[in-house]
């Protein structure tokens, strides 16, 4: 970059400019917008119940097939900085809401696309930003005004299931939506605290298992750990188990301070031997004395300790992972005990049944802990014909769980199938007429951008997209009802209330806010500097 001093001599502001690639002003903006649009276009085909999937091949050639926006973007290995921002955007939606990760990116892309024509008209980017901000406010207001409430309680959760079904509709699990939606809702309700409107997600465990089909996915009232009992002859089933959870190995202690124990005489050798033998006895005795009937240990067992456990009739599991340990502790009310000497009857957890089960011909075993005494903990065991299906199933169920949780937190809903977007767009068009100045243009652009989601939805469903969307627009305006949307599955009605397609209000608001924020941020950039020739 060159500037000239008072005497007309050039001086350099940015060093080594020949090694840096630089775009400024409107060119920079256009390059950015183009990059964002590329990402958004990529995601468009994944929207809706008839959206398509993507295959991602990672660095080591492993294959992931998914429909989940956040997962696609995360694994895409994006390099362009703007595209990276969009990846973040989708992550943000995923962390906060857990669903709608695709739509948020498509919407942000559409906002930027619309701003391109505004920029060409010569409107300053910050004016566009302001207009978008205002439009977003109006849209959110409108959302709140048109939202509906759904009612549910522990007994009647049919409305929750419907919401979960909307979320699952676009995924590969959609042929089993009824069953999987029910499982998801039951899982959430099992751990939910309806009074505090809180759901502890860490109490729901998702475990995948290849074999069978997705339809055989089941909800287990308890915890599954993919481990087996440490000795093949331990009993496979323990009723009314008292569980001791240990985080110390059944091995002679290894003090963390460096030390050496020198044996220089026979006497010392004998003593040490005695001590060693006693260690194991003491350990198992202490466990037995506490009244435990099952031992779960985070670490390994020495052969001798293992046998002593068998002899004392203490079925034990070794190498249980830290997260599983915590979960079991919460569920059974056990305390995690770091030293044998601290084991007391009070610190034991209780469970109605602990069983070791085997599956398939390869004889993989897993331990099922059921009827835990304390908090409800559930496991969803996802089954599927292959690894990729199971992984995708897990992701889809996670989305459905999130939707259900959001509804428990806030039971306000808006109608899906593009209905809200169209309704907001109509409202914005109306509102824009009463706003003076350049902002009017931005608001209209925003309203146009809102239509991107229903348009993508319609075209993925094989409809004439523009025609379908404009038809719905008209219908909404005529009847002044916000629940008309795109009839993706050709069910014969565009009434989303009847089709039971709805999203959470929170999720939608979040989508609008995040996308607007992102569009504003990208519009503000007017200079890209990046080193070239590094490859």
């Amino acid at each position: 970059m060159l500037r000239y001093d008072s005497s007309g001599k050039p001086f350099i502001i940015i060093r080594d400019q020949d090694q840096k690639e630089r775009l400024t002003g409107s060119e920079a903006r256009k390059a950015n917008i183009l990059a964002a649009m590329t990402v958004a276009n990529l995601m468009k085909t994944s929207i809706g119940p008839l959206g398509m999937d993507k295959i991602l091949v990672d660095q080591d050639g492993e294959v992931t097939a998914t429909n989940d926006g956040a997962t696609i973007l995360k694994n895409m290995q994006v390099e362009n900085p703007i595209a990276k921002l969009l990846v973040e955007l989708s992550q943000g939606q995923d962390d906060e809401i857990g669903d709608g990760t695709t739509s948020v990116v498509v919407f942000a892309g559409a906002l930027l696309e619309e701003s391109l024509s505004l920029l060409e008209k010569g409107i300053h980017p910050s004016k566009i930003s302001e207009g978008y901000e205002k439009a977003c406010d109006i849209a959110v207001q409108h959302l709140i005004s048109i939202c509906d409430k759904i009612e549910f309680d522990k007994e009647d959760c049919s409305s929750l299931i419907k919401a979960a079904k909307t979320s699952l509709g676009s995924k590969i699990v959609n042929q089993y939506t009824d069953k999987i939606a029910k499982i998801s809702v039951e899982a959430v309700l099992a751990v939910a605290d309806l009074e505090r409107k809180d759901v502890r997600f860490d109490l729901i465990k998702l475990e995948g298992k290849t074999g069978g089909t997705l339809g055989q996915t089941e909800l287990i009232d308890g915890i599954i750990i993919p481990k087996n009992f440490s000795h093949p002859q331990m009993p496979k089933q323990i009723k009314n188990a008292k569980i001791a959870i240990l985080t110390c190995p059944f091995e002679p202690p290894k003090p963390k301070t460096g030390h050496k124990l020198d044996i220089d005489s026979v006497k010392k050798y004998k003593e040490l031997l005695e001590i060693e033998q006693n260690y194991f006895k003491k350990m198992t005795d202490l466990v037995k004395k506490s009244g435990a009937t099952v031992v779960l240990c985070q670490w390994g067992f020495d052969d001798e300790a293992n046998h002593l456990l068998l002899q004392k009739e203490l079925p034990a599991v070794r190498w249980v992972s830290g997260t599983d340990i915590e979960l079991i502790a919460i569920a059974t009310g056990a305390r995690i005990v770091p030293r044998f000497s601290e084991l007391t009857p009070k610190k034991l957890g209780k469970a109605g049944m602990v069983t070791e089960k085997s599956l398939g011909t390869t004889d993989e075993k897993m331990i099922v802990i059921e009827k835990c005494s304390n908090t409800k903990t559930v496991t969803i065991l996802v089954k599927g014909g292959n690894k990729m299906v199971v992984e995708e199933g897990k992701r889809s169920i996670h989305d459905a769980l999130c939707v259900t949780r959001n509804l428990i937190k806030d039971n306000r809903i808006v109608y899906g199938g593009g209905a809200v977007e169209i309704s907001c767009s109509v409202a914005l068009n109306k509102a824009s007429k009463e706003i003076k100045g350049i902002e009017q243009y931005s608001i209209r652009a925003f309203s146009q951008a809102l239509l991107s989601v229903p348009i993508a939805l319609a075209s993925n469903s094989g409809l004439n997209s523009l025609e379908a969307v404009s038809e719905i627009q008209l219908k909404q305006m005529k009847e002044e009802k916000p629940f008309f949307g795109i009839d993706c599955l050709s069910k014969g009605t565009s009434n989303m209330k009847e089709q039971n397609v709805f999203d959470t209000l929170r999720g939608k608001i979040q989508q609008f806010l995040l996308a607007t924020q992102m569009a504003k941020m990208i519009l503000k950039i007017d200079d890209i500097i990046r080193p070239t020739g590094q490859y």
Binding site: K30, A31, L34, A35, T38, L42, M52, D53, K54, I55, V57, Q59, G61, V63, A65, M76, Q77, V78, E79, N80, A83, I172, G211, H231, P232, Q233, E251, P252, K254, H259, K260, L261, D262, I263, D264, S265, V266, Y269, K270, L272, I275, E276, D303, E304, N306, H307, L310, Q311, S358, G360, T361, T362, D363, G384, G385, N386, K387, M388, V389, G462
Partner: protein, 530 residues
Amino acid sequence: MSEAYQPARILNQGSTQEKAEGARLSNFVGAIALSDLISTTLGPKGMDKILQSPSNLLDSTITNDGATILSSIQISNPAAKILIEISKVQDDEIGDGTTSVVVLAGELLKESEKLIHKRIHPQTIIKGFRLAKDIALKKLKEIAQDHSENEEDLKKYLKKIAMTIFSTKILTPYKSIFADLAVDSILRLKGSTNLESIQILKKTGGLLKESYIEEGFVLDKKLGVGQPKRIENAKILVANTSMDYDKIKIFGSRVVVNSSSKLAEIEEEEKKKMIRKCQKIVDHGINVFINRQLIYNLPEQFFTDHGVVSIEHADFAGIERLSLVTGGEIVSTFDHPELVTLGTAKLIEEIMIGEDKLIRFSGCKEPSACTIILRGSSKQILDEAERSLHDGLAVLSQMVKNPKTVLGAGCTEIIMAQAIEEAAKETSGKIQIAMEAFARALTRIPTIIANNAGYDAEQLVSELKTSHYKGNNTFGLDVTNGKVCDVQELGIIESFLVKKGMLLKASEATEMILRVDHIMYSAPRQRGMN
């Protein structure tokens, strides 16, 4: 035009992507190529493949087993990888039908490629396929025969199933012998699916048909030196403990001595410690001691002196099987002989198979584990025979749990295809075309079987179809004579689970591949110089 208008590259250097038609094409090409590759192994007259390992050219495998072939080939195409994965899962879950699941998925994809050329949307195809799959599954359940009531009957059917399975493998000439072997060993499991307790020992030499099931249990180990080769009324202690040098496990301990005499003393003490341990073991009142780990000379000597036969280094699976067979528990501490359950066997003796010495345990308490001795002229033959036998055992073990059968030889496929065609007639719209395509894909399986056998496949299959239309619902292909005939009479029966697995997994994988419209490849991980 300025740089700003050029298409934006957003992915990393080295990453590539394929979009829409391109992605679909690459998926179809990959998956179909894979299924074509493997389709020639289908059926009783299917061919084998030689698999050569890239590192060692001398190390080759000759096989007919779909899962084995697929797991050894190096594939980068993602759709082909999905097919390999389903074949693996089919193998894990049911054990057989690993080829047909891939072939069916491949045929389904071939059909859908044609439909996409006709401008039918993949989602519509998926819808049709799902419908077709449901109909086929319903039909399959209808025609499945349940044999759970009569035990004698069950045994007969198990044998037939085993014969059907083995007839597509290297074991064909001796399928009756092997079917008996498999059924016999499975019935010993008494409903457990733990195939671990059936041990397959491969010994080169002899002929395949000389393979036999060993009454009792055979351990591929040798008895200690100078110990009796025959023990009657054995009391066995099965252990997992170190009998080499029993170090003190307390962390940080080490021996530091300042004179050689002290070293000798400690060494002496170590020996004494070992002897004490041996004494404790002997105090259990046993005459056979089997350890998972090594037994050094000193303890072995001690055992010999005390009339205890010792067997060292029985691996982990061996130990578990032994404890199953003899009914003894696996022991690691020896302070409480009264609490330990000992294993028993009427007779333990050293036997010779070919040139190898083995130990046979007979008259055991719990005959749920057994050993099948496979004989054959080469390593490759033995390996292939083991794989085939394993397939058979796996299916049979599942069968005992769920004793439902369907007819083989292409009969079931035709029945399912015709059920779908029937239903398609009443379905309007493009879905109908997809359903018909599904039916065609199913019919392709008998076609491929006939093709592989060298017959005029189209002619045979159309004859087969006609006979089904006429109401002969038990007709199938007789590939030995190249005729259409009653399968029930031929006794070609397959497990319902295998067929169900094939149908469900193939359609699930097809759906997964069809749903994809975009493939993104990450840049391959840079292999460092180190």
